[in-house]
Amino acid sequence: MNVSMRMLLYSDGSQLGSQALRLGIRIASAMANTVDIVAISRSTDQEGEVVEQAAVAAEKLRVAGVSVTVYPRSGTMLDELLNQAEAVDYDLIVVGSRGRRGIRRLIAGSRACSILKGTTTSVLVVKGKERENIDHILVGSAAGPESEETVRFAARLARALDASVALLHVMSQVALEEHAKAADLEAEAEELMERDAREGVHLENMLKILHQEGVEAKALVRHGLIVEEIVDEARNGHFDILAIGAHTVPGVEGLLSSDLSERIMLSAERPILIVHQGRET
């Protein structure tokens, strides 16, 4: 068990909140030492039910040796979680998401997106059908140093849950000039590693980290558009959790950049872990 991880969970009486709470309890039991549960009620009628749900969850965690504090609150899930995350330094927040897209998202918004934007803490967004076991984790890697933290977080999660990891890199590039090494753009993971291509070297280094943690791991490379390929691999590979890095780019480039983590989170139909940099425990 991890000895220093602090997690934030919530109960709000909803089906979605309950699903997020159940997965949160499972992960916290395996890798956290401190958990705060915010029991959020929108009305006084709901307060008893919500606090009761939080108390049951707290008891399960205490049995697993985790220190738990329950905070009864009234308000919206979004505001209360963000307020709590601002007050205390957490390593992971677990939230549920309906996975609204398109017009429905334009009208109703996405609470998960608002939480991602409102905090620098790593977030596990619980969505899609509930899974009995967490056996396979897919980690999306950008083949750069910024991916290392995502891989380390996923390695600890996989070790705690006794899950295997597949490390995925997507080659979305096309050759811009005649002299470009087009063969690298079509190569599979093994070929890239044998050739010592930049992506191959990165994948090898990340596999080393996973193996050092005692996690069974393999590298995959897909070719196409980044978001589509990651989501497709997660679905067709039957992965239980998808882990990616938060797309935080400072300065002007941040304003000009597209937020891939948000797009992946909205497209993926399974729990997705979004790891912020500089938050490693």
Partner: protein, 339 residues
């Protein structure tokens, strides 16, 4: 600077030569080549771009033919659309030459193939939008009295030189000579362009960053406005990547933007010719490209990129697929003219 000035002078002279010679071409186009419908003109512009390995001279020729009333506005519009398709298709000819040589490096032409797919996806619907706009006469109300003065001013400078030339050559030869000179002027202009480097601007991490599509769209539009050529504009991206790659998420909206502003040289040709009907055709072409491209970038970007990326992968997956793709784009303009 000197080469650029010579290129501009040659461009102006070539346009006047073609304008003077265009009337003599009517019997050839209508009689021998049977160019009467918009579809014929689409094929003609397309094939002409293949012959001169560039779309700009073919589009400028369409403007000259329109100003001499050899073509109608809709025919000229179709010819300009054909020139854009032909310009993008040139990459397929290069791929064909590579394949004949026994190489299989058509994947290095992937940006070119992608550019053609994107151009075709905008030009065909844009053709319908543009023809509709011209038929409705939406732009006919635009009136520029200064255009006549501008053209008269140019003619006053050029006529003393053009006079003896027009008397020496038959009209058809004058047109052909003008076509050759305008092609030369574009080549000279390409060489005279200063080298831009995005690296200096700090945008030097494209292999990792995915920029917003609307940002890349306007960047493609602006850079092509400065360089006057889609291929030069895309070439400017090369220093952004040490390995000569670019992410397709970034290049797709960039090319869509570039396809709009690449018409700026055709607009210049229409203005120099002093033909309001030609200016209207170019504006209709640019506006139809905006009308088709902008909703794609702002509203349907994800499904569009999936479609284009899938088509690119299919084309480059097998030698047979590439041959089919090549065959379609080589045969369609010929079929258009013969039909």
């Amino acid at each position: 600077m000197g080469a650029g000035l010579i290129a501009i002078l040659l461009f102006v002279f070539a346009l006047e030569m073609m304008k003077s010679g265009a009337k003599g071409l009517t019997p050839v186009l209508r009689g021998h080549l049977d160019i009467e419908h918009a579809a014929d003109c689409l094929g003609l512009g397309w094939l002409m771009a293949y012959v001169v390995l560039s779309g700009s001279p073919a589009a400028a020729i369409a403007m000259a033919l329109l100003s001499a009333e050899t073509l109608t506005q809709i025919q000229a519009f179709a010819m300009v659309s054909g020139s854009r398709l032909g310009a993008s298709s040139i990459v397929l000819l290069l791929g064909f030459i590579y394949t004949l040589r026994g190489h299989e490096p058509w994947t290095v032409l992937s940006t070119g193939v992608l550019s053609l797919l994107l151009t075709a996806s905008v030009q065909f619907p844009g053709l319908l939008v543009g023809v509709f706009m011209l038929k409705q006469g939406w732009l006919d109300a635009i009136y520029w009295p200064w255009l006549t003065h501008f053209s008269t001013g140019i003619n006053a400078v050029i006529n003393p030189i053009m006079g003896p030339i027009t008397q020496f050559f038959p009209q058809w030869a004058l047109f052909v000579l003008g076509g050759a000179v305008i092609t030369l002027s574009f080549q000279l202009f390409d060489k005279a362009l200063p080298e831009f480097r995005f690296k200096r601007a700090g945008l030097n991490r494209p292999s990792r960053l995915i920029y917003r599509p609307e940002i890349m769209f306007f960047m493609g539009l602006l850079v092509t406005l400065l360089t006057l050529s889609v291929s030069v504009s895309i070439g400017i991206l090369v220093p952004l990547s040490a390995r000569g790659y670019v992410r397709r998420e970034n290049i797709m909206p960039y090319i869509l933007g570039a396809n709009i502003s690449t018409m700026i040289d055709t607009l210049a040709a229409a203005l120099i010719l002093g033909a309001p009907q030609a200016v209207i055709v170019v504006l209709a072409h640019m506006m139809s490209a905006v009308i088709v491209s902008l909703p794609i970038v702002l509203l349907a970007y994800e499904p569009y990129t999936r479609l284009m990326s899938g088509a690119l992968e299919w084309t480059l997956r097998k030698r047979r697929n590439f041959a089919i793709f090549l065959g379609i784009f080589l045969l369609v303009p010929i079929v258009l003219i013969l039909s």
